[in-house]
Symmetry: D2
Subunit: 221 residues, 4 copies
């Protein structure tokens, strides 16, 4: 989902491992498994949305998106973690090769959705990171669930790791601006920009809170 | 997949039950389950195709199609079976509300595909009808597998009945002509037309056999 | 895109005209034309996004959505306008049977996109409504372009009316909350809720302005 | 649509020009134009199908497929034509970078469809090759229309070359077998195999003729 301004990881040294990675990531069987995983999780989310929307008499999920992490982005992350750029490391060290994002209107909806996801008996919750209660230093807010999703073929079942991000539209907006702006930061000015972005993150939390209060007021009417 | 020339089932008497059926068949949860089932089976078929195509060094599956049976068609079939036109009867008495069709080049591929489908541990085979070895009176040829496919949500697993038709392109062609022509038959001429169609079915079997022999000859080279 | 809580237009009196409308709106040729129009406009928007993203070195369009107006919603709007509920009135009096929405990060992007759309020689601009410079009383903000899009078939060219809404994510968020909440308003409390929503609209404009300033500052670095 | 058994064109000498080609063929603007062209032609074909199906009271078009020619396949064709492997040559010398295929039941339907396509005022017919009246030496049968399709953006209109193949299911079947088998031919045995395939082509023509006669008989009833 990111628009690459500079692929600063694609130095001469990394060119060949990244090419190998790209080749393995475009293997038809690998892609089929990933698409299958996405389609399985999306279906559950649609069903969850149907149930919640009926219960609360309003549309709960506003948007479901997914992306497969691109080779350059995998290489950058592995390098940052001090790992070699290989397909095996990508699969073992990274949780977000398959990323699915759910966007909703209100911050309490985030937890309603997460709670339903965690009740899917065949999904295994690996980790939960609540960046809403504890935002990242940058100001980033979202609820992350790392999940293992089972896929069957013949007698076998394989597990597929995914990262599910659940957030409000306002958090999604902030992440979009951050994502765009962070590519332009230079060391000198970055302190100032970072402070600004963090302030806006606080404004956004505030707005989410106000919107939630408004909704609750209206629901009581 | 059929093009309706006359919806001879939609008499005045049946109008209201068909409307009720149409309403229930367009329920979002029902549609979500059916689409989910189709997508699950199609994924397995794609994976089967990948494995077989690698093993035999040629593309095995030529086409995968699906259709949800339309209300009029359900009503016609229930009436023919002497059942009342209700959603419950549709679900309990009909195996082919969800129909998936796989088309391949050669008649031995039909059995290769079927054998792989039957090896899917979580699919339950309900019935197998081999209309290739024993064509229908009309001349119709295909291998039909009636299957129960499990879908999970939270703690529950529900079974979804499907009819999987596996056939060669030549058989698919005959079925297309039959499907078109049978709507025009009138009682007087029907005997003659039926005989013609049956003859063409024999010609088609013959062609399938010749193509298979040609392939085997070529494979030996 | 709206989630219907009460279909208050579907009174007994309106049931038959709405059924007729539904029938005409599901005519295959009508649907084909509408889908074709949507696909034509989306393609132009994707190409516009490609050109702008290259020029400004960042992803400009965040989301493109479309919807065909539902029969109930058409009926409600025609009734509000004092028109009879007919297919002909729907086509002649309503501009937004086909609605396409473009969402971007910053408020100046709205005008960049609009300017490119207006340069498409074969699109005819019927009306432009700038609810960003002049928000609606409710607080609603967006730029609306009413356009006629030509479709060819054989010797003929027919014009297809669409409403194109261009807005920032923040404006889109406000519209989502408004859309949800307006269904719950009751006369007594509505004054208060309306005032709240309007205030939030001002907050949102403010945030858009701050984000734009931040971007401009960063771009100068 | 072909399954590559041996990519005999990818010799060491050709590796770099093919890589360059692959890069240019995956340019987002190029892909957008090609997808747009396909979507425009498919829409016309769907509308043609709607009109013809109404006129003849049966479904005319059975299948619409498309493919973008793969880099290896482009390289092979350019080499065969004695041209260098460049993007410019691919665009100027090849008519079938975008290929669209329409499959119907009966051989007279081929000409009904072609006649409607030729009546599209904005499509420009470049060449028509009737391999049904004059099959290729191999036995291949189809009607090919080479067309230029106009695409607009801002003030400009660019022409997009496509190859439209129209054939019956039986012809499509033959082409599928030929396509598979021709990869396995070796010089010694090839004479015999070619003769077989040609014979089967004659059988298929015969069957198409019989099916057409059957339909005509039935239509008179």
């Amino acid at each position: 989902m990111k628009y690459m301004l500079n692929q600063n990881c694609q130095t001469r040294k990394n060119r060949i491992p990244i090419e190998k990675l790209r080749h393995k990531l475009s293997d038809p069987e690998f892609l089929l498994q990933k698409n299958r995983t996405v389609s399985k999780v999306k279906y559950r989310l649609q069903l969850i949305d149907l149930k919640l929307s009926r219960r609360y008499n309003r549309k709960i999920i506003q948007k479901i998106e997914h992306r497969l992490k691109k080779p350059d982005s995998i290489a950058r992350k592995l390098t940052k973690k001090g790992c070699q750029i290989t397909f095996e490391n990508a699969r073992e060290k990274l949780n977000d090769i398959v990323g699915i994002r759910v966007v909703c209107l209100y911050s309490d909806d985030v937890y309603k959705i997460a709670s339903m996801v965690k009740r899917q008996k065949d999904f295994r919750l690996i980790k939960e990171k609540d960046y809403i209660k504890n935002p990242k230093k940058s100001g980033y807010q979202s609820l992350h669930l790392i999940l293992d999703i089972p896929l069957s073929f013949q007698e076998d079942t394989i597990l597929q790791r995914i990262e599910l991000q659940i957030r409000t539209i306002a958090m999604d907006f902030w992440a979009g601006v951050d994502n765009h702006i962070c590519y332009k930061r230079n060391p000198e000015e970055s302190k100032k920009t970072e402070r600004d972005l963090k302030n806006y993150s606080a404004i956004i939390s505030d707005m989410d809170r106000q919107m939630l209060e408004l909704r609750k007021k209206v629901e009581k009417i």
